[in-house]
């Protein structure tokens, strides 16, 4: 779906008068229908990397080929951005219109889609994110989670093959976060959309097929979500905050109680403790 070959990206720094490399020789393939999570500290190059996927940024050297189109091909800019959509951190920065349905239709209008078709595309996109009832509302009356779902609908209406989410939940409250995470998971299941997700939130990595870890502009490893939990060094390096279930696992181990496996899921964690206590049978 997206192929990066030897991609480097540099920016000129006026203070030091030299080129700073933000991305260094990145090779990466993202496959169709895959769910990829990108992790890394602030400033590790995650956002810069994903902005290369649909030609928002063009590599200083190397090539990015998305669905057969090289992002350097200026004639195909529109096509590539229709295929790969993006959702960003701050919901307020992504809303352009004063009516929800008009906001969702913005991209389609620019593509010159006939009105009748547009109405059904917008309705479907809004249904998909569970915001159909709000189609005549004004976005400023919506919560952060709702606004973020409108932003997703706007991308979805373009019928993209891949959606890139750049920390879509970091500015939301817990409820908004859950709404958005559920929406992303449904996209993967229902529409088979390829998904790339940048996040700092450990609970959001578990639906991923593959986790890519970045540090100082390079991809330093590719792991499964579970491997991240197992290695405390990963958590520290990535600045991830352990869930309480993970802290509990390690603290119990420190007291000589070894639970069978690590999990961020509270139900699984509770089941393990129940099993452990039942084995002890001494209540």
């Amino acid at each position: 779906m997206i192929e990066l070959r030897n991609v480097s990206f540099s920016a000129y720094d006026e203070e030091t008068s030299q080129n700073n490399y933000i991305l260094k020789e990145i090779n990466l393939n993202i496959y169709k229908r895959e769910f990829v999570v990108i992790l890394g500290k602030n400033g590790s190059g995650k956002s810069t990397l994903v902005k290369h996927f649909n030609g928002v940024l063009i590599p200083t050297s190397g090539d990015v080929v998305a669905d057969g189109i090289n992002t350097k091909d200026e004639d195909k800019f529109c096509e590539i951005r229709q295929k790969i959509g993006m959702v960003f951190q701050n919901p307020d920065n992504q809303i352009v219109s004063s009516v929800v349905e008009e906001d969702v239709a913005f991209g389609l209008e620019n593509l010159g889609i006939p009105r009748r078709e547009m109405v059904s595309l917008v309705d479907n996109a809004l249904k998909c994110v569970g915001m159909y009832d709000f189609k005549k509302s004004s976005p400023n009356m919506l919560s952060g989670g709702q606004k973020q779902r409108i932003a997703i609908a706007g991308v979805l209406a373009m019928n993209p093959e891949c959606i890139v989410f750049d920390e879509p939940t970091s500015m939301l409250d817990p409820e908004g976060r859950k709404e958005v995470v559920d929406t992303i998971q449904n996209l993967k299941k229902g529409n088979g959309t390829t998904i790339v997700l940048i996040t700092h939130n450990i609970e959001e990595i578990f639906c991923a097929d593959r986790v890519i870890i970045m540090d100082s502009g390079r991809i330093v490893s590719e792991v499964t979500p579970y491997e991240i939990l197992l290695d405390k060094n990963y958590m520290r390096m990535l600045g991830l905050k352990a869930t309480q279930s993970i802290d509990l696992f390690y603290k119990l181990a420190g007291r000589g109680i070894n639970l069978p496996f690590l999990t961020a899921d509270e139900d699984k964690c509770a089941d393990m403790i129940v099993e452990f206590l039942e084995e002890k049978k001494c209540r």
Binding site: G144, M171, I273, C282
Partner: protein
């Protein structure tokens, strides 16, 4: 002795229009010296309105706010002093920075308090120490700093006024986990050293459970609960109805207790959970 007390406090927005909505309704409470108070509530529940009433930024429609047993609105000329005594940081305080240098930004409050140049310097350095900002940042522009550092500069600007009551409105929102932890530790350290009242508004129940002596639960402008965190988080169903959660370890231990038919005890921290499990071993 109560430091801050609210009596029959009311505040409504858009008064006299069809959009009238009360942000705070008939609130009565008292905050004792030396406490850390956690405030939780769904978006729009009135948490921030209450914070602004305590700080004297808005005037109650009815009722009183008493600071050290004195009504803060008794004499309008004194309200400026209230702003200094009750320090308030808003959400995303780094959006409100304006100083050319970190020093100027932090010094703004103390200078307006009328302190001498030397005193201001001391206050700035002290505040930076609490906020874990190195002195090498003094002459940097705050706008060149990372998100976490900016937030700490903004909080240091309030700490520098040495407020008797420090109100922090979601001080960790939108930061990465390492910066969040740093800010929480700074808050605890400040409290340990000064013993001043801290009011801490947050959506993160794990943090609330960890640092609060007492927790306020707000819903639709009403103060629904005001109690020790163990008692608050044992009322999970009521909280869920208000769109609020309990800490993850509380859920885990609740489930364990239910399955094994152990008498309920509310656990709110990871350390508490470890002890509870060991206790139930035999």
């Amino acid at each position: 002795m109560s430091v801050i007390r609210a009596e029959n406090l009311f505040y409504c927005y858009n008064k006299g229009t069809s959009f009238e909505r009360c942000g705070v309704k008939d609130i009565n409470l008292s905050i004792e010296k030396g406490q850390i108070i956690g405030v939780i509530g769904h978006t729009g529940s009135g948490k921030s309105t209450l914070a602004q009433l305590f700080n004297g930024l808005i005037k109650p429609d009815k009722g009183k706010v008493l600071l050290n047993d004195k009504n803060i609105w008794e004499d309008f000329a004194d309200i400026r002093q209230v702003h200094f005594k009750v320090g308030l940081t808003f959400q995303y305080p780094e959006h409100q920075m304006f100083g050319e240098t970190v020093y100027k930004d932090i010094a703004f409050g103390p200078i307006n308090q009328g302190l001498s140049g030397q005193e201001v310097d001391i206050r700035v350095l002290e505040a930076m120490m609490f906020a874990k900002l190195g002195p090498e940042l003094l002459n940097r522009s705050p706008f060149d700093l990372s998100g976490g550092e900016k937030r700490r500069v903004a909080i240091a600007g309030i700490i520098a006024m040495k407020p008797e009551v420090l109100i922090l409105d979601e001080p960790t929102a939108g930061l990465d986990p390492v910066s969040k932890e740093g800010i929480l530790n700074s808050i605890c350290e400040y409290h340990r050293q000064t013993g001043n009242v801290i009011i801490f508004i947050s959506h993160v129940m794990e943090d609330i459970a960890r640092i609060s002596d007492k927790v306020m639960v707000m819903d639709k402008g009403n103060l629904i609960m005001y109690d020790a965190p163990e008692n608050i988080f044992s009322r999970r169903e009521e909280l869920n109805k208000m769109g609020l959660e309990v800490p993850q370890v509380t859920k885990i231990i609740n489930k364990v207790h239910n399955k094994l038919d152990i008498k309920h005890k509310c656990v709110i921290t990871v350390d508490g959970a470890v002890e509870d499990i060991i206790e139930n071993m035999c």
